[in-house]
């Protein structure tokens, strides 16, 4: 054969499609999106018994070829050869579940009617046996005239037989197209299965039932769920810190290496601050993303995730979401990026979009340093308890925001049809660590590739905004001051310098360092970001902010935590410890000459509220763009969140004027 044969893998959701796909292709897979829709396209390469390569396309899970979701539409279109981006497959692997053959054959028989060769794979024969169901695959094989392979994909039982089938010339099934409706198809399937499936009559209690008695128990079920979530968050906030520090350190080291080897100048600053800083700011999220997908992958792999949706559905239904939105939203409390990526477990494109749009309101971990700093400024004499209370208030505000906007979007996006929630609860199964690992690997790769490229570009733009244009006068003064500083520093370091000379040099160094800080502050004020801060001052004044805070807002558009380091440069002219920045900020007076502090309770509250809602995370914008496949939603997200943040902060500042 000249080009490798292409097999499409087709089946209902929860049939073990991904497991079989992984078993066939190993690590030789590619994950992308189908152009124009937010449906994931997975292809991989396998090898048959003759050593020939074949391609496998893992088509989205579907219940029927009468498509009712974007995912099912992709499956239908690919099988009909209607998608230009995907060649029509040469043959189809129909994966069916042994414990519910009738329903699974519904799709499989529709596929057989497409005039494509098929191989039927009867999966989960072990689970079926627990239910007292045995399938005579040989009988089906005779009736259909195509290979019918019994399998336990997660234990890799049946792979040999499947390989034999894959290596033979594929054949079309001996199946007469069904005329008529759903009931007619079920009747035809019933006839096909006559005498081929044996059900044991006695009632059985499956291991899954035993697990469910505990895991969805009205008391223990919640305890276990909260225990798992507690473990997840503990891991995210404490254990993830170690690899994150390592990454931070590694990028810092890399920056130092470049600084040591390159002459000072714009190019060096671009590389260290723009590129290394920008990429480092993305890669630092990787540990959290991997941990989240480890937990989510494990929950999904074992079948527990469906139970979480089952338990949480009632709480999400009030605002028009369903239980499947729970895990993505919860993940967003660590970081909206994996949260949005986790919306892929939701079938409905509409629900996925709504969840993606509201995910950034959840109080992600990047907000914490900003909150901590502002709360400390707001309550300089406050007790730890009072500060914690404010922090709790911010989390409550974000939960209310999530609910409110879910409600709004649910109203705004008219449903084509009343949504019906059908939540399939698959049998529990032993987790496959290999599969969980592959999922983590995939997600990590997608995150780095997809978010990384956009963020790299945007962080360079942002770096340029805070650097250019330069004032030649300030540049000159800076260069002079640095030259003097270096000279005096050498004097100080030299052993031959006299004591009185040393003192004098020390004084000069101190003065020049201060001068440089002042010039750096001036330079930032002169830069595009500084000018933007000034330009937006009239707009943010009603919120209680001045142009310096404006610079902070502009800079933290890239990432919220940048606020702290930007404030450091704005007020001190250099990167400094948070404590000293805060001290300086607390001493800052208003520009209006009243002598009142710039960071009073009202301004701090207003800033806090702004940071709860504002969309200030380029990584999230990039991921939203990728996951929704359009700039439209990414831009809408930025506009509605930042717009609402503005209004909410305005209301906070103005209304609090009546109380304070």
């Amino acid at each position: 054969m000249s080009s490798p044969r292409t097999f499409a893998l087709v089946g209902n959701p929860n049939t073990g499609k991904t497991t079989l796909f992984n078993a066939l292709t190993g690590l030789r897979q590619k994950v992308a999106n189908y152009p124009g829709v937010t449906v994931e396209k997975k292809t991989g390469i396998g090898r048959n018994r003759h050593g020939e390569e074949f391609t496998v396309i893992d088509l989205p899970g579907a219940y029927s070829l009468e498509a009712k979701s974007p995912d099912e539409e992709v499956t239908r279109a690919v099988l009909h050869g209607e998608r230009a981006d995907t060649p029509k497959p040469d043959a189809v692997l129909c994966l069916v579940d042994a414990s519910n053959l009738e329903r699974h054959l519904y799709l499989a028989t529709q596929v057989m009617e497409l005039d494509l060769p098929v191989i039927v794979v009867v999966n989960k024969t072990d689970t079926a046996e627990e239910l007292g169901i045995t399938v005579a695959t040989k009988k089906l094989e005779e009736r259909l005239g195509v290979p019918v392979v019994p399998m336990q994909a997660h234990a890799r039982v049946g792979m040999e037989a499947l390989q034999v089938a894959l290596s033979a010339e594929p054949a079309k099934a001996n199946w007469k197209p069904v005329e008529g409706d759903t009931a007619a198809r079920y009747a035809a399937i019933g006839k096909l299965l006559e005498g081929a499936v044996a059900h044991s009559e006695d009632e059985r209690i499956t291991p899954s039932d035993k697990w469910d008695r505990v895991l969805v128990h009205p008391v223990f079920g919640w305890l276990i769920l909260f225990g798992i979530l507690g473990g997840l968050f503990f891991t995210l906030f404490s254990l993830a810190g170690y690899p994150m520090d390592l990454i931070d350190g590694a990028f810092g080291w890399l920056g130092e290496q470049v600084e040591a080897r390159m002459a000072e100048g714009d190019l060096r600053a671009l590389i260290t601050e723009g590129i290394i800083g920008g990429v480092g700011g993305v890669v630092i999220f990787l540990p959290q993303i991997l941990i989240l997908f480890f937990f989510i992958g494990l929950m999904e792999n074992t079948g527990y995730l469906a139970r979480v949706s089952f338990m949480m559905d009632r709480l999400m239904a009030g605002v028009g979401l369903n239980g499947k939105a729970f895990v993505p939203l919860l993940s967003s409390y660590a970081c909206a990026i994996p949260g949005i990526m986790a919306t892929r477990t939701m079938e409905s494109a509409r629900d996925r979009l709504i969840t993606t749009l509201i995910a950034p309101i959840t109080s992600c971990s990047a907000r914490l340093p900003v909150y901590v700093m502002l709360i400390a400024l707001m309550l300089p004499a406050g007790t730890a308890g009072q500060k914690a209370l404010v922090m709790l208030g911010l989390y409550v505000l974000s939960i209310l925001g999530v609910y409110a906007f879910a409600y709004v979007f649910n109203r705004a996006f008219k449903q084509t049809d009343k949504t019906l929630l059908v939540l399939e609860l698959p049998s529990y199964q032993r987790p496959s660590w290999r599969e969980v690992g592959m999922e983590m690997f995939d997600r990590g790769k997608i995150f780095l590739r997809r978010a990384g490229t956009v963020i790299l570009g945007l962080s360079i733009v942002l770096w340029a905004l805070t650097t250019y244009p330069k004032d030649p006068k300030i540049e000159k003064q800076l260069a002079d001051a640095e030259a003097v500083l270096e000279e005096q520093q050498q004097l100080l370091d030299s052993k031959s310098t006299e004591q009185n000379q040393r003192e004098e040099a020390g004084n000069v160094v101190e003065a020049k360092t201060k001068g440089i800080q002042k010039l750096t502050r001036k330079q930032l004020a002169h830069s595009a970001a500084g000018k933007l801060g000034h330009a937006i001052e009239p707009m943010i004044e009603p919120l209680g902010y001045d142009w310096r805070m404006g610079i902070g807002l502009v800079a933290s558009f890239a990432a919220r935590e940048v606020f702290v380091s930007t404030m450091s440069i704005v007020y001190l002219g250099e990167e400094a410890e948070e404590d000293s920045v805060r001290e300086r900020m607390a001493a800052q007076k208003r520009d209006d000459g009243t002598g009142k502090p710039a960071y009073d309770v009202r301004t701090c509250l207003s800033l806090l509220v702004f940071y709860v809602f504002a969309m200030q995370c380029l990584s999230t914008v990039a991921v939203t763009r990728r996951e929704t496949n359009s700039w439209r939603w990414a831009i809408l997200q930025v506009v509605y969140l930042t717009g609402f943040a503005y209004l909410a902060a305005l209301a906070t500042y103005q209304l609090s004027g009546f109380f304070v």
């Binding site: 519910n100 009738e102 059908v422």
Partner: protein
């Protein structure tokens, strides 16, 4: 048994024979494709801890439906 009209009224472990489904067409069709056809047997397994949704067994599969939807699925 005379009070039993729809599957939302089944108690834990109780089985019934499905009748008509009074849901929008696409929803009804999806349920039919999943085996919820008139005459098929359905068994109530359990309610979610908060009372909704409700888990049923249809064919060999476990499906959870919301109470409001279940109330539109009648028994014979």
């Amino acid at each position: 048994m005379s009070d039993l009209h729809h599957i939302g009224q089944l108690s834990e472990g109780e089985s019934a024979e499905l009748g008509s489904v009074e849901l929008p067409e696409a929803a009804a069709e999806r349920l039919a494709e999943m085996g919820m056809l008139p005459g098929a047997s359905i068994r109530m397994i359990r309610r979610a801890p908060l009372g909704c949704p409700i888990e049923f067994e249809v064919g060999g599969a476990r499906l959870a439906l919301r109470r409001a939807d279940a109330a539109q699925i009648f028994v014979q």
